[in-house]
């Protein structure tokens, strides 16, 4: 009964979302307050219905209802309860239901926290979100219903992919989806403003906190995914330029451009058309990401078993979203007033350069990701584009961004004095040169690449510190959004340190080890003590024991594992990591090289990863900075401008 209830709730939600997507929109155009007033209740109803539906699926997992095909395929009575619940989004159908749940959640949040906005505007935003919901719900109901029953239910489920039995999976997909789906809110605000023909500073101010919060989730989701790949996949890398990773990274790049361009639109009324295009692009790329992940058109290390029919549906949805939005944009754009004028050297220009660089970087990633598809479609054979391409293209495009980040935030709007700014920045230049020469030498060998990166970091951090000191000297306390910006930029600097250090000074080795043997990387010595069999809740593991020595002293014991899950043929590598502020050391087990597992030789992989945690730490700082910026009080103050439709006037 429960699964049918869930299915029924989802169908009802679909119908309610249709009402939410149509009537308030028409009402806002025709000034009918009664139809406008439908926006909030339908949004709330849709949210509650999807919540019920999601709860039903979760319940089916909790009670091991294997008559539900999706549960039978992704869960098992042996699975620990925590993973049984996170298995709800462990497969295609459930993760799409999560997508929809997040979408209606965002819509409900917009409905709840938009009391200060004009009713017509809220109605349009919620209606656009309703239409997007309709599209995605149709996708779930028509192609990927998680509530499908099996005629002959198995006694035991197939269990969850062992790779996904990890705390990282509990948080990574929901965070990433919150970010993906949050782009729908930025998109809905842009569409609503276009439909109303009111692209103004007020619209940008309303859209900004939502876009920033979505960006925060996206940042955290990507960082967590990267961290998960690092410790769970046992490859020791943190980014592989894999199509699925790129799928989440492209919306992030555009969203980053968007939050910067929204600043210009809000403060100066400029870049309006551009901002709208970015909002459309960010959401379209989120959909494209879903398509790439779900259609299986690309060879990916992240690929799961897929179904082409589903890919086609998302592709059609994408076409409707992109085509529809651009048509609307084409109809409205000529009427949009130009923003305030600005000189060549001004904060506007710096933000424009920021936007161009981020968008070009996104385009390069997009090209690299889709190139195999394009070549294949034109009969050029099957090819793959490797990480060297992305590194060769992406890094040079990002370098000027790091250079300008120190200058942009202090440039004045409209017109800035370049000579004056550079005069104030000379100490930062000195710090940069010193950092570029001294730090790599202190870390080990001097390399041009790491020197350049650290010089840029020195430049950024010195400028940030100087600007902060100067700001604190001035009267008045800086706003939370100013602090947020400083923190996020500082986070970027930390991220660059991590990337530069780990890619230059990391040491990784695959070796054959017998018990008693040692291997050294990065000043640390691993001593292999042997492997013992041990038992987990639903797996048997070969558990290795290593002594980690530094200068002849035992620092700690490390226990990497090779697990064999009861319900699966695939072995699983659990790496053992000793994490630290300036370095990680990492050991994982390969295969046993002799029949005697306990006392014989093993293939062992050892890593020394300097500053690798700075990569995720930097992302965390960026996310916290984003949250601070979004919490700024001025976003919650009632906007006086453009209350075109008097709320409730007709009623």
């Amino acid at each position: 009964m429960i699964p049918e209830l869930g299915h029924f709730a989802l169908i009802l939600a679909f119908l309610v979302s249709m009402v939410q997507g149509i009537l308030p929109l028409v009402g806002a155009q025709r000034n009918r307050a009664d139809w406008i007033a439908l926006a909030r209740p339908t949004t709330a109803a849709s949210f509650l219905l999807v919540a019920v539906s999601f709860a039903c699926l979760t319940w089916s997992f909790y009670v091991n209802d294997f008559s539900v095909e999706y549960v039978a395929g992704h869960s098992n009575t042996q699975l620990p309860t925590m993973y049984r619940l996170s298995a709800v989004w462990g497969g295609h159908e459930g993760s799409l239901l999560l997508w929809v749940f997040m979408l209606v959640g965002w819509a409900a949040a917009v409905a709840a926290f938009s009391r200060q906005l004009p009713a017509a505007m809220v109605a349009r935003v919620l209606a656009v979100l309703g239409l997007v919901t309709v599209g995605l719900m149709a996708f779930v109901l028509l192609t990927s219903n998680p509530f499908d029953r099996l005629l002959n239910p198995p006694a035991e489920g197939r269990s969850l992919n062992p790779l996904l039995q990890d705390p990282g999976l509990i948080y990574h997909p929901p965070l990433l989806y919150m970010g993906y789906v949050g782009m729908a809110v930025a998109y809905a605000f842009a569409m609503a403003a276009l439909i109303a023909g009111q692209l103004d500073a007020a619209w940008a101010r309303w859209s900004r906190p939502w876009t920033t919060v979505a960006w925060v989730f996206l940042t955290l989701g990507i960082a967590l995914g990267s961290w998960w790949a690092y410790y769970e996949l046992g490859w020791g890398g943190w980014w592989f330029w894999d199509p699925v990773e790129n799928a989440s990274f492209m919306p992030w790049l555009v969203a980053t451009a968007l939050i910067h361009s929204l600043a210009v639109t809000e403060k100066r009324g400029g870049f309006k058309n551009w901002t709208v295009l970015l909002a459309i692009a960010a959401f379209s790329l989120s959909l494209l990401g879903t398509f790439l992940v779900r259609s299986g058109v690309l060879t990916s290390v992240h690929a799961f078993a897929t179904d082409p029919r589903r890919g086609l549906f998302i592709l059609m949805l994408l076409a409707v979203v992109v085509g529809g939005s651009l048509m609307l944009f084409a109809a409205r754009a000529p009427k949009v007033s130009a923003g305030g004028r600005f000189e060549l050297v001004s904060r506007e220009t710096f933000l424009l350069v920021n936007n161009v660089l981020l968008v070009v970087a996104c385009g390069a990633v997009l090209l690299g990701t889709l190139y195999p598809l394009i070549v294949d479609a034109f009969g050029g054979g099957k090819i793959s584009v490797g990480p060297p391409y992305f590194n060769a293209v992406f890094v040079p495009i990002m370098l000027p961004l790091l250079l300008l980040i120190a200058v942009g935030p202090v440039a004045r709007w409209k017109q800035a004095d370049l000579a004056d700014m550079l005069k104030n920045l000379w100490p930062a230049a000195v710090v940069a040169v010193v950092a570029g020469i001294a730090l790599p030498m202190a870390a080990g060998q001097w390399h041009a690449y790491v020197a350049l990166a650290l010089a840029l970091v020195g430049w950024m951090v010195a400028a940030l510190v100087m600007q902060t000191v100067e700001r604190l000297r001035k009267p008045g306390t800086p706003t939370p959004s100013w602090w947020g910006m400083q923190l996020a930029h500082f986070g970027l600097a930390a991220f660059v340190v991590g990337v530069a250090m780990v890619s230059t000074y990391q040491d990784e080795r695959d070796v054959r080890m017998e018990p008693g043997e040692t291997v050294s990387v990065g000043g640390y010595t691993f001593k292999f003590l042997g492997v013992r069999e041990s038992r987990g809740p639903n797996y048997t593991a070969d558990r290795g024991t290593f002594e980690l020595l530094k200068d002849g002293k035992v620092e700690r014991m490390l226990h990497p594992e090779k697990r064999a899950y009861d319900t699966s043929q695939m072995p699983m590598t659990e790496a053992a990591i000793d994490a630290g502020f300036t370095r990680d050391v990492y050991v994982s087990l390969g295969e046993a090289l002799t029949p005697d597992k306990e006392n014989g030789a093993w293939a062992v992989r050892v890593y020394f990863k300097p500053f690798v945690d700075w990569i995720w730490g930097g992302c965390l700082l960026m996310a916290i900075g984003g949250l601070m910026a979004a919490s700024d009080r001025r976003y919650r103050v009632r906007a006086k401008a453009s209350a075109a439709v008097p709320a409730g006037a007709v009623a």
Binding site: W235, R341, V360, P396, M570, E591
Partner: protein, 146 residues
């Protein structure tokens, strides 16, 4: 500065940036794409010489041999075989009888030296390239029978 000059400077700067990016992109693409070649095509001598490429198919049953860290195995598209050698630790899901994709180059002795063996996340997943190689063979066999 006049508005027209300013716009010209901005557009010029934008075009320059895009031009540099396009050059970078095309250069990088040219040197970093790997073609996918099926074992049958390797047998026909269609494999790029001295360039990195990918092969895919099934890992032949009973073909995995280990010599310390060097693993050798045979990738087959059911018609033709290619002997592959790889040094290092293989991904967890690499198994006999399952699909696999390897990237590397052909050595003068005709064997394939892999620098990378692709991992996957799901035991039921077949890399599309490996599937493609096997499908090609089946198609060819069908047309022969007719």
């Amino acid at each position: 500065m006049k508005a027209r000059h300013k716009r010209f400077a901005i557009i010029g700067g934008g075009l320059a940036a895009i031009g540099i990016a396009a050059t970078l992109v095309l250069n990088a693409l040219d040197s970093n794409i790997a073609f996918f070649v099926s074992p049958s095509e390797v047998a026909e001598g269609k494999a790029p010489q001295g360039k990195i490429f990918r092969i895919g198919g099934f890992v032949k049953e009973g073909s995995i041999q280990r010599d310390n860290l060097t693993v050798s195995f045979v990738i087959t598209d059911t018609a033709k075989d290619v002997k592959v050698a790889y040094t290092g630790i293989l991904p967890d899901l690499f198994q006999e009888g399952k699909g696999a994709v390897a990237q590397g180059r052909i050595l003068p002795d005709g064997s394939f030296k892999a620098t990378e063996v692709l991992a996957k996340h799901d035991e039921n997943y077949m890399p599309p390239e490996a599937q493609h190689a096997v499908d090609q063979v089946q198609k060819a066999q069908k047309s022969l029978k007719q």
